[in-house]
Structures are given as C-alpha cells and as structure tokens.
C-alpha cells in the first residue's frame, strides 16, 4: 500500500508532537466541562470537593465531567484501535466502525442490556461489548488478515456490519419494551449525551487495559511494515503480536461501544491525519492516535451540544458526516495509486 508519494517528511520531533496533542486534548477537555446547554460553568475547588449541593455542581460533576471523560477515553480507544488494526493488517482503511468491530460490539452490548442481564450484573454490559468486538476482530483477521487486498477487507467489513446491524435491530424489535425499538439509532450512531459516572466506572478499567495492551504492540507493528517474515526474522513473535492487537482492540472498543454506541470513522480520520507527522511509523502512531482520537471526539461532542436547539445531534452522526467524505477520498486515492 502506497498512500503517499511525497518525499517530504514532517519534521515534528515526536515528543513535541505528543506534547502538542496533550495540550490540545486538555484544552478540549476543559471546554467540554465548561460549555453546555445550561450555559458556561467554571468549576472551582468548592464545586469539585465534597458532596455537590448546588445545581451547578451537579451539572459539572454528574453530567459534564463523566461526559468529558468518556469522550476522551472512547475517542482514545477508537483512535488507537484504528491505528493498531491498520498496522496489523497493513491497510489504512481498517477502522473499528468500517470493518464491523464496533457494530458487533454494539450487538453484544444490546444483547446483555435488553435481556435484562446488565440490570442484574452491570459488568455484563461491557463484557458483552468486548465479546462482540473480539468475535468481529477474529472473524476479520481470518477473512482479511495477511496482506489481503483492500477490497477483501472492505467486503469483509460490509458483511460483518450488515450482519451485526440486522441482529442488533432484531434484538431491539424483540425487546419487550415498546421504547426499545426506537433505540436502534443510539447503538448504530452513538452518543455521549447524559451518560453518568456509572458508565465511566464500567468502561474505563477495560478501555485502559485494552489501550495498555495495544501500547505494547508498537515495536511489532513497526517491524510488520516489512512483512510478516521479516518481522519474525527481527525477533517479533507474530502470534503474540496478533493476540495483543486482537484482545486489546476487543477490550478497548468493546467497552467503549458498550457505553457510547457506535461512533464511526474516528479510527480512520485520526490515524490518517497523524501518520505523516509520525513519519508513517505504526508504533509512534499508536499514542498519537490515542490522543488525537480523544481530541477529535471531545471536539465533536462539544459541537453536537450546539448544533441544534432540540434534542442533541447524535455524536455518531457528526463523526460519520466528517468521516465518510474522508473515507471516499481515501478510496479514490487508493484506486488511483493502484493503477
């Protein structure tokens, strides 16, 4: 896959790039806490310590803080998992949403949520999401692993997405609650509106674990640039590398989707934008994409609050509106370079 014929390399030293991304993420995190439908609220020490007593404190601590934390870690998980999948499959179009990993995670979460299991054992929700995501990554790797052409990957993704979308809708239609059927759109085009600290508690440990696992794959993914055989000759255990990417993606994306629904294209747009800045090195792309994914999702989640007067826009709608044209452009470029 040659996606860039450029000789230029962006000479941003890696530590500066990371520092810049951290700064951007912090600013957006702060903005996510300060701006909302109830107006501008500036947190102070009194608000953040002790039991919240004023409406302002409740809004900041029970609504905006969990929301900002989730945007950061869900976006981070999606960005990093996208970068890791792309490194493993050596394919810049591998994205958790596009290839059906997020959709299958949603199916897993839907199954545990609407069966009532998650009401009895709250942990069942992220576990269901992770099981779904894991299944999809393994399936994807069997269908399109090992240097498969881009078309194979995309077709595998279409198939997995169609299947998981249909089953999710079926599960919701079969749900005894008359409202449930209307909730398909939340799962297929996710949102972070009115999430709570309970969701943070459920998702954060698994997302952290998954991202930690993905963070260990940098050397291996770098080596995979030269193909599987050369990577092994460089001392990389390919089996272990695959396992870490698959399990790490399943944990991070599965737990993220279980609380946010499917937020697409983050894992496509962010690694693509950052790749030149890290000299196309898959290993360095991992932390950069984690930060970039967090920043993009925070920004998008702020935008949806003010996009309309009525109910908030779904976050997944906005990321799709940004991401889909991006995806088309990438496909066109890939086609041109293939000729």
């Amino acid at each position: 896959m040659k996606l860039s014929r450029t000789d230029r390399s962006f000479d941003i030293p890696f530590p500066f790039l990371l520092a810049g991304l951290v700064l951007l993420t912090l600013v957006l995190f702060a903005a996510s806490v300060v701006f909302g439908r109830a107006g501008v609220l500036i947190p102070n020490a009194g608000i953040l310590i002790g039991a919240p007593t004023t409406p302002e404190a409740v809004i900041l601590r029970e609504l905006r803080l969990p929301r900002a934390i989730l945007a950061l870690v869900v976006g981070g998980a999606l960005g990093m998992a996208g970068a890791a999948l792309q490194g493993l499959l050596r394919n810049p179009l591998a994205e958790p949403g596009l290839v059906g990993v997020s959709g299958t995670a949603a199916l897993g979460a839907v199954a545990t949520f609407y069966s009532g299991l998650a009401a009895v054992y709250p942990l069942a929700l992220p576990l269901g999401g992770m099981a779904g995501a894991g299944l999809a990554v393994v399936l994807l790797y069997l269908l399109a692993g090992r240097d498969a052409p881009i078309l194979t990957l995309i077709l595998a993704g279409v198939a997995i997405n169609a299947m998981s979308g249909a089953l999710t809708t079926l599960a919701l239609n079969l749900s005894p609650n008359p409202y449930a059927a209307f909730e398909v759109f939340f799962w297929l085009l996710g949102a972070l509106t009115d999430r709570s600290m309970d969701h943070v508690d459920l998702a954060l440990p698994f997302i952290t674990l998954g991202m930690g696992l993905l963070a260990t794959t940098g050397r291996g993914l770098d080596a995979l640039t030269l193909g599987e055989d050369v990577a092994r000759s460089l001392g990389i255990g390919i089996g272990g590398l695959q396992a870490r990417v698959i399990i790490g993606t399943a944990l991070a994306v599965g737990a993220a989707v279980a609380v946010s629904g499917v937020i697409g294209f983050v894992g496509l747009v962010v690694p693509h934008l950052l790749r030149p800045a890290v000299g196309h090195a898959p290993g360095r792309l991992l932390p950069a994409s984690a930060l970039g994914g967090g920043a993009l999702t925070l920004a998008a989640d702020i935008a949806v609050r003010f996009a309309t007067d009525g109910p908030e826009l779904q976050l997944g709608v906005l990321t799709a509106m940004i991401g889909a044209p991006f995806f088309l452009a990438l496909v066109l470029r890939t086609r041109r370079e293939g000729q």
Binding site: M1, K2, L3, S4, R5, T6, D7, S9, R90, R219, D222, A223, L224, T225, L226, G227, D229, V230, R232, S233, L234, G235, I236, G237, R275, G279, H280, A281, P282
Partner: protein
C-alpha cells in the same frame, strides 16, 4: 562465531516434498550462493533455516543447538533476513527503515540509543545510501530499495545474513553494488547466504555454491566444481559452462539441452 546447519531437512506442503533431505553448513568466512532452477526449493530452504516455516523432518541447528530451542529474539541476534522483493507497506523514511534493523538486537531501546545511532550511520555508509536517508522508501528505485534493506540488515549486526534473490530485477550496476556489499561483510565472524539466479555473479562473488534441484542438493563446493557443464545440463537443462574472459569468470548458456525423455 555463528554456524547454521541443516540436517536431513524435509519440508512437505500439500503432499509435495519441497525439501527432501537437505544437509548443509553455513558459517563465517563464506559467501554461499544458493542456486538452482525455479521451484528447486531455494526460498523454502532459506525460510526453513530462519525458522519461518515448520519443518517436517530433520532439523536446523544454530551453534549446535536445535533452532526450535531458541526464542525468536535470540535467532534475530544471530541471523538476519533480506526478503525477496524488499517489501515495505508504509512510506517510511529510509533512516527509519534502517532503524527497524535495530529491533533485532534491542538497540532500538532507549538505553542503547547511542549505539543504535552509530549502527544506523555505519549501515548507511556501508551501503552508500546516506544521501537517501530522508527519502520515503516507497519513492526509491528497486536498486536503491534493496540497498536500503541491506543497510537495515547490517544495522541489526547479526553475523549471518540470508538474502533471498537480492539482485533479481536490478540493473547491472546495482547488481554489482549489492554483490559487493554482500561479499565485503563476509569476515572471520560473519557469513552470507544469497539465493541467486545469475550464475556469472554467483561464480564471481561466491566462494561456495549450493546447487539445488527438486528439493535436494545436487552439488556443492567451490564455483568451478559446481558449475561444471554436466551439472548445468542435468539441473538447468542447458548446454553451457564456466569460462574466463580477461581473467574474469563468466557463465555462458549456449543452448537449451534437448529433451532427454
């Protein structure tokens, strides 16, 4: 001193014996040319020596111990691999690609950063690719790309280097450059094995040749022993042989052998 040896090696795929009882030693001081017609099993042999494919019989030994006793990282410290076609999936800079060679000996780690930097500089210098260091590897010509991949192997510092068709598809100048570099690195502690199709280059640069046919070793030894007309006729089915022009070896293939069946 690293010695790689094959003992009665058998590799079977889909009922076909790709390697059928091969025994050979590879050690320092030698540039070994692995020659033979297409499908003779040269690449399979190379991959088996690296432990990249499972073996169905016999074994590969590294310094006297079965290769399967080693962890991948321990093999990587001792044996480098230049893959056919020098694949590269991302448009990374030459410098970064060469730096990937450091993964083999752990010099990519922070503690070894200085040593790693020196190794990269040495490898770029040894292959004459210093001027390309900031270019994206995907923008290079095939010859440049091969040189860069050799630099990547050199940076890793493994004593043994196994190169799969390093000069196939290169222009004459790059072919000579590559063979030069491969020979120059051979020393009392370092050896190279290269799969070659160009018999003239094999004769001129290698001090040891292994001629393979149908998964077996047909002949091995010095070039003048291996490249006898009888061997060429039997294995390649050509009439030809080793000649000297102005004191340099040339292998000439005069005409195809008549079908003897």
């Amino acid at each position: 001193m690293t010695i790689l040896s094959a003992h009665d090696l058998v590799v079977t795929r889909n009922g076909r014996r790709l390697l059928d009882g091969i025994s050979a030693d590879f050690g320092p001081g030698r540039l070994t040319g692995l020659i033979g017609p297409n499908g003779a099993g040269k690449t399979t042999f190379l991959k088996a020596l690296l432990g990249l494919i499972p073996v169905d019989g016999g074994e590969v030994r590294l310094d006297g111990l079965p290769l399967t006793n080693y962890r991948p990282s321990d093999i990587a410290r001792r044996v480098g691999y230049l893959a056919q076609g020098a694949p590269c999936h991302w448009p990374m800079s030459v410098e970064r690609i060469v730096a990937l060679g450091l993964l083999a000996n752990g010099q990519d780690r922070r503690a070894e950063a200085a040593a790693g930097k020196q190794a990269i500089a040495d490898a770029l210098a040894a292959t004459g690719t210093n001027h390309l260091r900031h270019r994206a590897v995907t923008t290079l010509s095939g010859g440049e790309r091969t040189l860069v991949m050799i630099a990547r192997c050199l940076a890793g510092g493994a004593p043994m280097l196994l190169a799969d068709e390093p000069v196939t598809g290169l222009d004459p100048r790059h072919q000579l450059d590559v063979m030069d570099i491969l020979r120059r690195r051979v020393s009392e502690t370092a050896g190279t094995v290269a799969v070659l199709h160009d018999l003239t280059l094999a004769a001129r640069y290698c001090n040891h040749l292994i001629l393979m046919a149908d998964g077996r070793i047909f002949a091995q030894g010095t070039p003048d022993v291996v490249l006898k007309p009888g061997n060429l006729a039997a294995v390649y089915r050509i009439k030809g042989g080793l000649h000297f022009v102005d004191g340099r070896q040339i292998v000439v293939s005069h005409s195809p052998e008549e079908n003897r069946t």
